[in-house]
Symmetry: D2
Subunit: 409 residues, 4 copies
């Protein structure tokens, strides 16, 4: 018996259908972010990597390479103005030629000097207007690229008690959100991201899911919440938030990454793989729910990476990230939900926990290899990248940036 068969039997012995699991895995999509392919750093500096992408065409090419070897990364999120071009239909076409599409559009509302004290919540009306105009421009980009999701993250906040008025800023945000909502075509969404801290340190205007949810609820169905794994205080149970937002029909998407303490933007599931599994467990339960509204909602979530590869190669890191999401989803699909529910109903704490852990403990790599093969991919995407010579090729062609600078090059 092969490793595949050993595991497949083990799964089927729990009453699960291995083919359905593989079908679900084949339908999984993880969107990769354009900025993950570029050099990035911390406030202390940026280490440059040979061949790191420096324009949107290179980023698209890299993203296409990730999709080529994994089979589950068919779109790329873009960041404006980092990925600004004259004609967005051109990059749409370029992406399509390479087998992927343009995903979420991310306005940048933090790097201009004008945004020192905020963007949509800036005390000065002119700057609030400038920020809003930039978002309207991004909606145009969405139309041109076919993007469905406007991904809104704000660095707005303050560094000192008394610096500004929380309530006034809240009202500025809501006013602007209403205008954005109006401007957004009906087939598109605005995803409101929250972040606990950084780059504002005393307060962030949208610090937690609750504020994002409050705004999204008042705005209407086109507004949903975006969960970034690194944007929570220590000790927060993220899977619980995910479950709550799912049940409210307000979970729009994810920014996957991992952190040890702050918003480290490390490769997802490298610090705490069990957390990602726990999040996927909630997603799978919703996907398989008998509540059709919930099920439909669960199937409409944007799964996106948001990572910086500060000290490691970019493309291999993104591939590993995609694999880690695949692994977590696969394990969640292998939970024996019926037995779990039964133990929960009986209040059998240990047995319920053990039922969940049984799936987590299972080594599904042979299943994933098979899925890849059936998708026409190499069973080992990391090896496939290495053997493709792609990394050497771009290192040669693109060279290494010599900029250092802190933060984003």
């Amino acid at each position: 018996m092969s490793a595949y068969e050993v595991i497949a039997r083990q799964i089927e012995a729990k009453g699960l259908n291995i083919d359905k699991i593989k079908d679900a895995l084949k339908a999984q999509h993880i969107e990769t972010p354009s900025w993950a392919y570029a050099n990035s750093g911390t406030r202390f500096g940026t280490f440059t990597w040979p061949g790191a992408a420096s324009n949107i065409y290179e980023k698209i090419a890299d993203a296409a390479m990730v999709h080529k070897v994994t089979g589950l990364a068919p779109s790329i999120a873009i960041h404006i103005p980092w990925d600004k071009v004259e004609d967005y239909t051109e990059i749409k076409a370029y992406a399509e030629d390479l087998g992927i599409s343009i995903g979420a559009v991310n306005p940048n509302l933090f790097q201009e000097q004008e945004y020192r004290l905020g963007s949509l919540a800036h005390p000065d009306a002119d700057i609030r207007e400038q920020a809003l105009e930039h978002i309207f421009d991004c909606i145009e980009v969405m139309k041109e690229t076919g993007s469905k999701d406007l991904s809104l993250w704000f660095a707005d906040g303050t560094n000192y008690a008394g610096q500004d008025d929380f309530r006034k800023r809240k009202r500025y945000f809501f006013e602007a959100f209403e205008k954005i909502y109006q401007a957004l075509p009906d087939d598109k969404r605005m995803l409101i991201e929250y972040k606990f801290f950084e780059p504002s340190f005393y307060h962030t205007d949208l610090p937690d899911w609750g504020m994002a949810y409050s705004f999204a609820s008042k705005l209407g169905p086109k507004a949903e919440v975006l969960v970034d794994m690194g944007h929570h205080a220590q000790g927060v149970n993220i899977e619980h938030i995910v479950s709550f937002l799912l049940d409210e029909g307000k979970l729009g998407g994810f920014h996957f990454n991992n952190r040890k303490y702050a918003d480290d933007d490390l490769i997802v599931a490298t610090v705490n793989p069990f957390e990602l599994f726990s999040v996927y467990h909630e997603l799978v339960k919703a996907e398989q729910s008998e509540d059709e509204v919930l099920q439909r909602h669960a199937k409409n979530i944007a799964y996106m990476l948001d990572q910086n590869h500060n000290i490691e190669g970019k493309i291999g890191a993104v591939i590993q990230s995609v694999i880690n999401c695949q692994t977590a989803y696969a394990k969640a699909l292998c939970v024996d939900q019926k037995t779990l529910e039964q133990h929960q109903q009986e209040g059998n704490v240990l047995a319920a926990h053990q039922t969940l852990m049984d799936a987590y403990e299972t080594d599904l790599r042979p299943i994933l290899a098979r899925v890849r093969k059936e998708l026409g991919r190499d069973p080992d995407p990391i090896k496939a990248l290495k053997e493709s010579g792609y990394e050497e090729k771009i290192a040669n062609e693109r060279g290494t940036a010599d900029a250092s600078g802190g933060g984003f090059a």
Copy 2:
């Protein structure tokens, strides 16, 4: 010039009216909790204090003593069944005789063996029903005692991943909340408290203000959120949450206390006095707002202590707590709001911060002493307690409990 005059002039030099400030201070009310007068401890044990109250009559007497020396603690929150009596009109009368009233009623949904896996979110419908019945009983207690606020805190949660289903538990909570809301007379409120962790460790069903707010929003105007200062993750900006809830008309009340790391239930403002000031700054701004809805809402907040005095005398500690709230409020009343707003509008970060800090730095003890005097109280409540002989009297009459308790059998 006396110390009072020096400070009064300083304040008036900022364009503020010292009489209005004193009027506001005279109207301040801090509700003290019956359980603060009893022995309390940690899971490692309980240290018993001479004269600690062991029944509701003693607790009322102690609370009345606190009001007698501070002038701003005219009500006592009760906890059922800890404060259970046959006839609640009797304790209402007893309190009134001593010059105070019965404040919030707190159902206890954690100490019965049945609540091992939860109360309103327990997997077993019978236990959910039992918990609901207890809350209905507490609504009856409210009617008999004249209490306005039903203060709802739940220990519900799980200790292990997979132990129970988040979504199911959420729905159980909402079902129950709807019934409680229906049962609540129109002139009363239900205050939904949230808590980050403990005694459930893996997840708490109501872990943050966002979930409490979501429920309260759907229920209607009689449901509001209760903020306990110790129930947040580290690094959370509590004054921002306070401001947000105020603006949403959903801030029902406070449980004041302080903590260094977890839910330590220490004397308010002893670990971080600036945090309490920052919270009061938001409250004062709302009280003084030109937005009448907001102003009315701000004036209808229940300010309550929720503390355990594990190693110190109870009554002195409660008096100190009340004084600390008075100090924070007084300082917040001394903020030069006009100048602050002007600096904020100009984006003058440092000047805005300095304007706020000017009020915090001011030593208002002479003002508070004068307020007490004008309220017919001793200018020094701590000294007044000591000189009253009350502590010795109750120590003699009530003795010292020999119970220890703690989490270990």
Copy 3:
């Protein structure tokens, strides 16, 4: 090919020897704590479990049952006075009859009323002396029971700024430690535990590994540091501390458990299984080090559980804990150290990380089942417990305590 063979081949393909791995696993010892078999709770109350042990004889019997089904829990830690008896040679003999031995002795320096303000650091010299005498008594218990480790945890600390003098308390501690060190026979150790917070909230006298290490270093080779997994601030990298203490020759032992936020004392590896693996990875590297001093030190560590099973059955939970330690150790033994080191030396960040993760991802349950069989145990200890009827038997014989307890009187 069986699941065992599939995995064994996979491991051997990395150049590892499956027999050596099994030998290491057969030599693994996890000490279980007497208090894990008794009822325990939080400050909010204690839920009692049918058949929970209420005396040291019952606890020993339960520990023996855990050893019987796991094969790797041959000793039990005791807590004085919780496990106080007239004649300690009697419990030594009783344990030996059941196939286990008495492990670490844990003095209790927190539950007496005298310890309200501390034990060895109490401001009153008489109480410091009382605490010291209790520790001397415990050293006598060690002699009578054959225990090798004196496990020292102190609840000492303060709740309020200014309550006591840090420096004075530090000096009291060192004076006492010197006396304990002198009293300790040469073949025994004192393990100094540290704890970040609780039950003291403002400061703990021994809050972190650094202070425990400083004391242990000055005392000499019989004094070492004890690491409890739940006694750190959020975000602390525990495996790094473990590695540092190992290299210093100062890692005496572990208290294994897990937590989400504070010192939750949950079943080890249930909140974050990867953390336990990471800790074992450091231990394995030290055990296999060419540095003989380090290697010897690594092989002399006391591995102990320290958990409270507040809402779940005790014995099953302890068995699961032991299995979780076994799993983590087994995975750490399967790390391809040579390849890892090579990637590290080359600075190949991703490849090094992937090499480590390869071992973590492997499902070693078939290997563990084989190890148990070869040790003469049932391959499935959880099932073995269930089928033994032991839990029903003790539930019938011992009944269910009706005490509740908790921090509130």
Copy 4:
């Protein structure tokens, strides 16, 4: 009676001597860092400020201005190579001309591309050597500038589990430290700084005071620990660490700043002024100790700021920081130590705490104004800066940088 007299009497009524307090305040020194006068930012970008210093001469001029208006900032810390010049005796002379001196020298071991995987702990021996050479160069700078303190902060760490070997890196650090120690003249110190996280996210090689202390202890008396207020996990009691290091004779210096969550490098005492007071309380107790070794040690501490003024003017922010340190020290000097000690000895928790708080509550601004006057300074340094026209002058002369970039410009 003037405000000064009111407060002076209040202080003297506690048995304290106002002249001694003023003498201590006049002897206080706070060193300001050259980088605080330059533009700085986060990884998301840098907002440039008109007149921000861009070379060491401008930084010295700004630091001299701060000293001119505060009277207690007579030295400036420098950062190499940010402040690199051909001839260091020249900047020494330039500083002296302006009435200040060169303080600590800070090697930069994080911005070169070579340091991607570390400096003294890099896996490659050549890069370790390069880092060491840079430190030796800095020791030469110390000799030329008359600097006493080598201030060592390392960004070394890893981002991923398995990336490198903790133990190996520890040994590399110790080897290098020994060489640095040898190279250091006898009248100079090396201050070993620790940092909890960032820019390395999975582990930092020197994450806490314990590791810095362990190295410093082994090295000898010229090696001491540097405490940066922002380099701790949440919930850590910093004043306790300060007290411990003082008692060990190993507290070399401070990097003052403040943070809400991570290493925010905000103006000291703006997020939590009570924390800074609590730290100074420990320092004052040591300064006034009857233990002469301790007293001498306490008087030899380097008090330095380490802040980034990302969104506010630089010089005003540094002045405010210096004032905040002065305020905290002044309040600590006003603690009635005798009464405090007496209450501590009696175990009177509340009274001891109230005694400490009495000093914190006191508004000492009139005392500080008097001290400044007696030092020949303007009683209001912020106003003095504004009226000096210095800020406008440098804005005109130096202009505004247009660089944005993340991190340090």
